[in-house]
Symmetry: C2
Subunit: 203 residues, 2 copies
Amino acid sequence: MSERATTTKPSPARTSSAKGSAKREALLSTAEELFARQGYRAVGIDTLLAEAGVAKMTLYKQFGSKEELITAVLERLAGEITSSLTARLATATGGSHGRILAVFDWLADWVRSPAFHGCLFIKAASEYPESGERPRQAAETFKAGCRELLEEQCRELGIADPERLARQLHLLLEGALVLSFLERDPQAATHARDAAAVLLAAA
Amino acid sequence: MSERATTTKPSPARTSSAKGSAKREALLSTAEELFARQGYRAVGIDTLLAEAGVAKMTLYKQFGSKEELITAVLERLAGEITSSLTARLATATGGSHGRILAVFDWLADWVRSPAFHGCLFIKAASEYPESGERPRQAAETFKAGCRELLEEQCRELGIADPERLARQLHLLLEGALVLSFLERDPQAATHARDAAAVLLAAA
DNA sequence: AGCAAAGTAGACCGACCTGTCTGACCACAA
DNA sequence: TTGTGGTCAGACAGGTCGGTCTACTTTGCT
């Protein structure tokens, strides 16, 4: 890890476009991985910096505090998930229920990916439980967005009570996230898809 | 909190039946509340001891380490939940689906109680994610028990595929735990009950 | 060439962490 | 009376925490 600093150019702050510096990116992606695997409070700043190959001052210049770094990680992740999911929805085929089942297919892929170690938003709400704490706020915002996305899909299907069905589907989704992490079994997501199909058929 | 030590008898080790000392109980219930509200790593030993009015040596004599205390809290809680739930099931009325819907009624009561601040088992698995860590093991054991309880109820109903239905119901249950904590809205549990009724009717 | 901006390593800070240890207190039983 | 076992307060140890600061180097732009 350390010999690189003397042999190769440490990526000379390419363009440094406001918020897009390479060091900032390294911090965000390293933080995401370490926090996912070990938890937020369990990972110290120093560990994170060593892993990312970044100096402490850079972190505090870019983010101001550990909690803000966590918030930035969550916001970046929320954007990535949203765009990945909507891209998948755009190509969804199948019957009228295809779009919603595609959400659960996407979920099944997510929990199967080797980078999945539980939902970072749920963990954030657990470790920062106060309403005023930014990580918890980021988690609440993201999960509310998930429910709205589901609700919109239900609405487009002309379901009688779209809000009710969306909330039920959301329960399945969150349950699948928790159980696939807790039992280390991605099958939970496919069971959620099965259950979603039943709820859809009944609505 | 502190004046008691000088004015009243600090409960002179009544009977001290092996594992049932009063101090041990104080530690367990205080720990449960603080961990639930703030998280495991966020609560330091000293805070916990001050709140419980117990000396440090007592904690380490009784439990050996913080992680073992956490494990003991989880095991005690698992026992309480199991007996409370099975007591409820014993008195469950209603149609053939009554027993299973009673589980969700019980859940609705739980998440409505003021002491509810999210599921301690899910939080434990988040903060102690390694397979070898005792809190995570306690969480896995408890959640597996939940699934088995559900499966047994399904089996008694003569459902075609009891394991499959039990897993689906379990997803709803866990989803309700997460969302009622995350959105601070106990309604999640009643939505879970509604969805469970749909799944039952379809099976 | 010269300068400002960004990044560097690492010392440093006070607070807090888990866990150990000492020495005393107190209720009760022999 | 004399243990004895559980508990007490609090000092202590060794580490880690998040965060600040200084002094230096590298970089890109002019």
